[in-house]
């Protein structure tokens, strides 16, 4: 993979696919109804459609907005550019719209908003969802010809290769399936087989090739062979770099329409692991906390105090860090926080121990907040887990160099009796 060629007309001879500044906005809303029409029509009809009514008196709306349209647009792809040369394999990794949007643009199922895609030769679309969308209720060879019409597959080539296409599909393997499932699987096999027999220069795959693993392996074998012969491959996957590693030498990891990481599969896998932050919905509550000893108050003495919390973690693979804030009546705020993240692999009950060092708090009463920081990288979310009262007594305030400590352990109930809990996770210590 390399930077996109500047001129589409002078594509270097070894470049088979050139993506040049491609962006795509997605939108779903209805077009605007003209203002004058809204005034005369009853609100129960189109004139009463959703947000359009709020713009009723918007003087900036021209009357011909019905033609212009007015949508909320999201950028699924943002100014993407690269070249794909002979024998190269590119993986596209991403949860969002970007991956699917790029794939659909490549096969002509979606026009780009800006930029252009230049293909030398033909693209073989091994995209199960898109192929079946075009085929609709057509089955068997009819489906192949119908999809061919939409995708500009040469009819003569399909006709001349139909025997090879059917042979590769090995339809006799499906004889024992129930009729409807057999028809569906046969059609999908024929469509994929036809795409493989187009003498394509670029092979586009997304999310494997359906739920037919035996056939999928055969397809991958052929694509790998074509790649060795000089074709280029572009493959999408939702979350695993290893899905891409067989055919792809380079991986782009998309997030929010733009490339977050790129490199060899191993590099992206490492980056993905390091940067992985569990995305938590704003309304979700993946953790709950309470004081292990019950009640709402903790006393801190002259030697400091270890406070224990019982935590319920409802999600696996949570990256968490903790923070305690103390506020007194004078408006003073003191906080201690855990640097770095602790990875809690399994959901379940945990115990959090926080050592409040001597000298951190002056004598007096405090309102304390236990805050959990969930996720990593750019997606850290702070959640208040518990409020409790702290009464500090006998503090000299001169031992501020003592350190706070955070330890996350499995809950004692999960441990064999008599065995002290052992922390499997990082123990982070931080100065207040």
């Amino acid at each position: 993979m390399s930077k996109a060629s500047t001129s589409p007309d002078r594509l270097p001879p070894d470049v088979l696919l050139s993506i040049q500044g491609v962006s795509r906005a997605t939108s779903t809303a209805m077009p605007e109804v003209p203002r004058w029409l809204k005034r005369v029509l009853p609100k129960s009809g189109l004139a009463g459609k959703g947000a359009n009514v709020q713009d009723f008196d918007d003087a900036d709306n021209p009357d011909d907005e019905m033609l212009e349209g007015s949508w909320e647009e999201n950028a699924a792809l943002d100014e993407l550019s690269f070249d794909l040369r002979r024998g190269e394999g590119l993986g596209i990794l991403g949860y969002g719209d970007a991956r699917a949007t790029l794939m659909r643009i490549l096969i002509g199922a979606l026009p780009p908003s800006t930029g252009r895609v230049v293909v030398r030769g033909r693209i073989a679309p091994l995209l199960v969802r898109d192929l079946t969308r075009y085929a609709r209720q057509e089955v068997g060879k009819d489906a192949v010809y119908v999809v061919g019409r939409f995708m500009h597959w040469p009819k003569g080539l399909l006709r001349s290769r139909m025997d090879e296409i059917v042979e590769f599909a090995r339809l006799d393997e499906l004889d024992r399936l129930p009729r409807r499932k057999r028809e569906r699987t046969e059609t999908l096999r024929l469509l994929l087989s036809a795409a493989l027999h187009l003498d394509a220069s670029v092979y586009a795959l997304d999310q494997g090739v359906g739920d037919d693993p035996d056939f999928g392996l055969r397809v991958f074998d052929v694509v790998e062979q074509r790649k060795a012969e000089g074709a280029a491959v572009i493959q999408g996957a939702q979350h695993s770099v290893d899905d891409l590693a067989r055919l792809c030498d380079h991986v782009l990891w998309f997030d929010e329409g733009s490339v977050l990481h790129e490199g060899r599969p191993l590099e992206v896998a490492v980056a993905a692991h390091k940067g992985r932050g569990q995305k938590v919905h704003p309304l979700a509550a993946p953790m709950f906390a309470k004081l292990s000893e019950g009640g709402q108050q903790v006393d801190v003495g002259s030697d400091g105090t270890t406070v224990e919390f019982d935590l319920d973690m409802l999600r696996p693979h949570l990256d968490v860090a903790f923070l305690v804030e103390f506020h007194n009546e004078l408006g003073k705020t003191i906080s201690i926080d855990q640097p770095g993240l602790t990875h809690a692999k399994d959901p379940g009950a945990y115990r959090l121990r926080i050592f409040i060092p001597p000298g951190l708090l002056e004598d007096g009463a405090y309102r304390a907040h236990l805050v959990g920081q969930i996720g990593g990288g750019d997606s850290v979310q702070k959640r208040e887990l518990l409020r409790f009262d702290v009464v500090s007594e006998g503090q000299s305030g001169s031992e501020a160099d003592a350190e706070a400590a955070f330890v996350l352990l499995p809950a004692p109930d999960d441990e064999p009796s008599g065995t002290p809990a052992v922390a499997e996770w990082d123990v982070s210590r931080a100065a207040p």
Partner: protein, 301 residues
């Protein structure tokens, strides 16, 4: 089993080397607002025409008890009812030729216009279902609506041919016009089809916005049917109404068809002028309108 043996078992390692096609360069570019671009799309996606036309035809008869029997039944019933009312009860004269011949030809020609408009109007709204929501130029649906229109025309034309054969045997008279006039009739048919498609380019996108356009269009077409010499020749009208009918741009193509195939009077200069102005306005306006509106569909994808 080793990995290589597994591959051999699957048979894929024996695939013939590909002849990688790399001479042709394809450019996938953003949707462009231009009438020329729309016409270019019609050419690029011409392979879709038979498929879309077949789908539009089959949509009428799917999920009906009589299925394909409706194909001849509908036009047959229409001609019979028209013939009964105008030729039977109202005793409308059709010159020196039998009324059945006149009305079956005129109805066939009218069907070409009416069905093209009908499917152009309806098809754009449901165009997404042809491709499962993926992109293809929606103008192809309007163009493909000529498929069901031509099929209905051929069925009606078959009834016209049967009537011709019947009267040539029963009355020993050939009512078909001389072959040198057939070209005029064919041009008339082409103009009627073009009118239907052109108006469909306007009503199709509007129907995608609101179904009311469909209702209004069907009433207007019904009105237009009686304002066009389909069930009666224009010569049967009083003079003061003839001019009004000649201003209808559909009058001239209808009279060209009647002149071309059954030898009735040719269209007047006024009717021809109305037709030419009409085809320019509707064809150009339809393309302009559709071109402006299609961005709505593209953006909604």
């Amino acid at each position: 089993m080793s990995a290589v043996a597994e591959q051999a078992e699957r048979g894929a390692v024996t695939a013939a080397p590909a002849r990688i096609e790399s001479k042709h360069v394809t450019v996938i570019a953003p949707w462009r607002q231009s009438i020329l671009a729309r016409l270019g799309e019609v050419w690029t996606f011409r392979a879709l025409f038979p498929y879309l036309a077949k789908e539009l035809i089959m949509r009428r008869y799917r999920r009906t008890y009589l299925s394909w029997i409706w194909i001849p039944l509908r036009p047959g019933l229409q001609i019979l009812s028209g013939g009964l009312v105008f030729g039977g009860f109202l005793q409308v004269s059709s010159g020196d030729r039998p009324y059945l011949i006149y009305v079956s030809l005129s109805t066939a020609a009218w069907v070409l216009f009416e069905r093209a408009l009908h499917w152009g109007t309806r098809g754009v709204r449901g165009a997404g279902s042809f491709s499962g929501g993926s992109f293809f130029p929606r103008i192809m649906v309007v163009v493909a609506s000529s498929g069901p229109a031509i099929m209905d025309f051929l069925i009606n034309q078959a009834l016209f041919m049967i009537a011709l054969i019947y009267f040539s045997i029963a009355r020993q008279t050939n009512y078909l016009a001389p072959p040198q006039q057939w070209a005029v009739g064919a041009i008339g048919l082409l103009l009627l089809l073009l009118f239907g498609l052109s108006v469909g380019l306007i009503t199709g996108p509007l129907t995608a916005l609101t179904k009311e356009i469909r209702y209004v269009t069907s009433y207007l077409v019904q009105f237009l049917l009686f304002m066009t010499p389909v069930y009666y020749p224009i010569s049967e009208l009083p003079d003061r109404y003839r001019t009004l009918l000649e201003l209808n741009p559909l009058t001239a193509p209808m009279e060209m068809v009647q002149f071309g195939f059954v030898g009735s009077a040719p269209p007047s200069p006024l009717a021809m002028t109305s037709c030419l102005v009409g085809i320019f306005v509707f064809c150009g306006g339809g393309l302009w309108f559709f071109n402006r509106f299609e961005r709505t569909f593209v953006a909604r994808l």
